[in-house]
């Protein structure tokens, strides 16, 4: 697993207070990890801070799973 994926996982565990084993690539923040819409706003802000990236609102809306977040950040970082 990439360094980015590890870090994303860690942030999700911390912010949503869920067990690490539940944070699989396909896990949906809202449907599987108990987040509400405000939690996802905060989560995206935490990703921005941790990876020094800017995630515009329309992109943020499409980040609904752990894999979405990892893919988006990896793309930004490699660009």
């Amino acid at each position: 697993m990439s360094e980015i994926a590890d870090k994303v996982k860690k942030i999700v565990v911390e912010h949503l207070g869920v067990d690490e084993s539940k944070v699989t690539p396909d896990a949906s923040f809202i449907d599987d990890l108990g987040a509400d819409s405000l939690d996802t706003v905060e989560l995206v802000m935490a990703f921005e801070e941790a990876f020094s990236v800017e995630i515009p609102e329309d992109a943020a809306e499409k980040i609904t799973t752990v894999k979405d977040a990892i893919d988006y950040i990896e793309k930004q970082k490699s660009a």
């Binding site: 912010h15 949503l16 207070g17 869920v18 405000l38 706003v41 905060e42 802000m45 801070e49």
Partner: protein, 427 residues
């Protein structure tokens, strides 16, 4: 002319659960036993360095294991939810959970949930949260503000969180009347039950304004004690000639109020009954009471009359008594109202031990009245070494007293000139 509320008395309102978080401890018994033992919860401020501030002492809730009567946040609020709430909500949740568990009330159906409401207020709300957020904005990072900032700071969010946690779908409300909040919350919630809006109400106040902005703000208003920074336990001294301002405290006091027949039907333990409630406004000054504290006089008179009693029926008064110049105005009003009965009256200020819990003070002190009735003992006024004014009223200096207390009255007055009194008795 106002309606005669005696008709509503068909629905009596009793207290079936209590939760306390105070500078003397977490839990009703830890707080009450230490209060009766004459202990003080006032210390040098430990949650931040107060060296730059004129007032450096406060009543902070002791951190430590729950089993030792101290505060461990994760025992009350799940870690992932903690950052969504200011500290006043943390303390309020702890007291509310305690009170609800103590009452044993668990509505089994939708009707029961809809008949259960919440009215928990605060004087100030999430002051530290607002301070922190304003620093974020001031440093040009407005877009980094947490989406939880607003719901973390809003006063009515203790009521909100309690209702969400327990599924209570009845009236969801919040009193905000500065230092009278706690009494207004219990009094208004009692009336909602009397009027049939609910059968059960979780009511009280929560406050956590022991933070740099809170201490600096009340210092600027010249309201806080500054002469006892080296002897914190001496700082809160209601009626004493050397008093020089109030001492800020933090915490929460929450009760479960319940319609009497409802409580009896389910075999609930009953602490006592709310039998009288009186409110008034000073229409005088934003921070100072009027001469003779006539607003307090009217609030007390109305509370006693609404209980169908006369002043001679009152055995104990838990005074507002903040350790400021206004103490003697309240004393004057009580003496005028109680007349010849004053010499038989016990009146103490428990703020001498826990400080002034602002929006939580009134609910905490109403609970002390109930406990005084239950145990036949009145809590002391600490540090009343040299009363500034002589009075026939026994102000219970230094040590708790055994007293047969059947009916007690508690006073709370707030900035803006708002006054509330509540009368309770055993059942």
């Amino acid at each position: 002319m106002m309606a005669d509320i005696s008709a509503m008395k068909e629905r009596r309102v009793v207290v079936t659960g209590m939760g306390l978080v105070t500078p003397l401890g977490v839990g009703v018994e830890p707080t009450w036993q230490r209060l009766l033992a004459g202990e003080s919860g006032i210390r040098r401020i430990a949650s931040f360095d107060p060296s730059d501030l004129p007032a450096q002492v406060a009543g902070e809730v002791p951190e430590g294991p729950t089993a030792e009567g101290k505060f461990t946040l994760s025992d009350w609020v799940a870690p992932k939810d903690q950052k969504k709430m200011d500290r006043f909500i943390h303390l309020g949740m702890a007291a509310a959970i305690m009170a609800i568990e103590d009452s044993g009330w668990k509505p089994e159906d939708e009707e029961g949930r809809c008949a259960t409401g919440v009215m928990i207020g605060s004087g100030i709300g999430g002051l530290q949260t607002i301070y922190d957020a304003s620093l974020t904005v001031a440093s040009g990072k407005a877009r980094r503000l947490s989406p939880f900032f607003i719901p973390s700071a809003l006063i009515n969010l203790v009521s909100g969180h309690v209702s969400i946690r327990y599924g209570f779908k009845g009236p969801n409300h919040s009193a905000v009347t500065a230092c009278a909040t706690g009494v207004h919350a219990i009094g208004d919630a009692t009336r909602l039950i009397m009027l049939g809006d609910a059968d059960v109400m979780v009511a009280g106040g929560a406050e956590a304004a022991v933070c740099p902005l809170g201490i600096a703000g009340f210092s600027a208003a010249r309201a806080l004690s500054t002469a006892f920074n080296d002897t914190p336990e001496k700082a809160s001294r209601p009626w004493d000639r050397d008093r020089d301002g109030f001492v800020m405290g933090e915490g929460s006091g929450i009760v479960v109020l319940e319609e009497y027949e409802h409580a009896k039907r389910r075999g609930a333990k009953i602490y006592g009954e709310i039998i009288g409630y009186g409110l008034s406004g000073d229409a005088h000054h934003i921070t100072a009471p009027a001469e003779g504290h006539e607003g307090a006089f009217r609030a007390m008179s109305k509370a006693i009359a609404s209980a169908g009693l006369t002043p001679a029926d009152i055995d104990y008064v838990n005074a507002h008594g903040t350790s400021t110049m206004a103490d003697d105005l309240e004393l004057d009003a009580v003496q005028r109202l109680f007349g010849d009965h004053a010499s038989k009256l016990a009146m103490s200020s428990t703020k001498s031990a826990i400080g002034h819990l602002l929006g939580a003070a009134g609910s905490v002190e109403a609970m002390f009245c109930m406990l005084a009735i239950r145990d036949g003992v009145v809590p002391p006024t600490l540090n009343l070494d040299n009363p500034a004014t002589e009075s026939p009223i026994d102000r219970v200096a230094h040590e708790a007293q055994r007293r047969d207390v059947k009916v007690a009255l508690s006073n709370s007055f707030g900035f803006g000139g708002t006054n509330a009194s509540i009368v309770v008795r055993g059942v």
